[in-house]
């Protein structure tokens, strides 16, 4: 079993049938098999707010478009940073996106004590469950490190 504290939760956001968009759920499933508290989530912000409630530390893992070569890992620890807050389509149509959920959670006082986002640059977002090779490699490395007890709130991205 892992040495990761029980009050941590890892939330893998994305759609597992849209190739690299599924990297979040892929990692969450793997972390769950290692005994960590990890859930896959399709990403609707109001649902994320519910998951964040009553958690001390929460790590959201999501695919990102752009931001370097495929498989690049981005650690967003300061979610007020414009690089994160402006990264998504904040005003999505009928859903609350991740950046908007963070802003809403902050306004409502419903953010965990510690919340961060790990983004992984994807390259293919078509139909299918297979991750692209660079994203799959990045995912496996991240799984090994997180399951091995890495503290993402302080570790570097490498």
């Amino acid at each position: 079993m892992s040495s990761v504290p029980e009050d941590w939760v890892f939330i893998g956001v994305g759609h597992s049938e849209r190739q690299d968009d599924g990297v979040g759920p892929y990692i969450a499933d793997a972390l769950g098999r290692h005994g960590l508290t990890a859930v896959a989530h399709q990403g609707d912000g109001s649902g994320l707010l519910e998951l964040w409630d009553a958690r001390q530390r929460c790590v959201v893992i999501d695919a990102v478009a752009g931001g370097g070569a495929p498989g690049t890992v981005h650690l967003f620890r300061d979610l007020g940073d414009p690089a994160f807050a402006g990264a998504g389509f904040v005003h999505s149509t009928h859903q609350i996106g991740l950046p908007e959920a963070v802003a809403l959670g902050r306004a409502l006082g419903r953010l965990p004590e510690r919340l961060m986002v790990i983004g992984i640059t994807g390259t293919t977002f078509g139909f299918g469950s297979a991750l692209s090779p660079p994203v799959a490699e990045a995912a496996e490395q991240l799984i090994d490190r997180l399951a091995g007890g890495m503290d993402p709130f302080s570790a570097g991205p490498g």
């Binding site: 109001s46 649902g47 005003h91 609350i96 908007e100 809403l104």
Partner: protein, 431 residues
Amino acid sequence: MTDNTRTIQVEALARVEGEGRFKVRLEGGKVVRSEFSIFEPPRYFEGLLRGRSFRDAPDVTSRICGICPIAYIMGASQAMEDALGWQITRPIADLRRLIYCGEWIQSHVLHTHMLHAPDFLGLPDSIALAQSNRSLVENGLAAKKMGNRLMEVIGGRSVHPVNTRVGGFYAAPAAAEIHALVPELERCEALSVTALDAFSGFDFPDLEVDYLFVALRHESEYPITEGRIVSSAGLDIPVEAFPEHFEEHQVPHSNALQGATVDGRPYLVGPLARFNLNADRLPADILALAERAGLAPGCRNPFKSLLARQVETIYAFREAARLARDYVPPAPSFVEEPPRAGTGHGITEAPRGICYHRYEVADDGAIVSATIVPPTSQNQRQIELDLVSTVERFHELDDDDLQWRCEQAIRNYDPCISCATHFLKLDVERA
């Protein structure tokens, strides 16, 4: 452009679904030309269905929309059952109404609390609303969560449920699971009354539009899943007569078809139409709440659609609690008979208004033809006319304020542009 010509342009409209543009030319406070364009590409669902099994129609059409999948599932299921001659049982019909309440709640609450309310308070979005009125947003999130919960317990998941099928449900939820929802449904009804009181204090723009309202009407219930088609002009027809009275037109400037009556008159579907044609089907105390909030039968102010949605949210919680309290698992959970050739029609009241389905099925159950008329498509022409009315009524506002008012007018419809192929750039040219 002359010295007294002004152009207002909205590059993208937030808080509506899809992509589109509105261009309008004003002369002396009168609109002389307007074009409401939908440039989201066509999606070809009707063509996709041809040749597939009748069983596929509910699941395939549910993908038209992530906000109102139940409307498509139920409309398609009803149309197929009509084509095949299947009669569902009352308990199955009740369970359908219960999950449909969940969809009304989650769709209405998201729109009223998170997307439309900020307009009335001069706020840019729900985040600013949360900073200025935390309890209103918290109430909304709790209510939406309960709507989602209904969808999950009955449908297997809150988006694109998987437990529904032609004939009923793959499996009936356990009675205990449904009964356990009642206390929270009752609590959320009370939260929704509080929200209605808050909304009633909004400053509603003064605008009256001469609408032709169209909605379902049931002999005893506020319409959700069943009824005849009625209008404020006295129409009263069965569902299968829809194509004889309503049609869709292609217009050059839009990818979306625009609905009208066969004699060319635009019409309005959705909460305001439903309320006006069915106010007497609401429980007396809920109607009294509506009137106290400033929404009386006969209301033709499109901005008060916010109140109509919230009144319907209160009703949906009341109705869901009643159905959950009385719930007995349907056994069997679905009906099924061999396929046969036929043509069937189905209409339910989606959150945004009536949604029509028609299918022709071959004797082996393959779909020969499909026609789907979603509510935003039916409202498309009326949205354009509302924008014209809004620009003329409020033309003295400066460009920024007029743009804001137009966006607010569009959000009156909670338009689901993806459903109708749908939204918004705004160009106002003043001469």
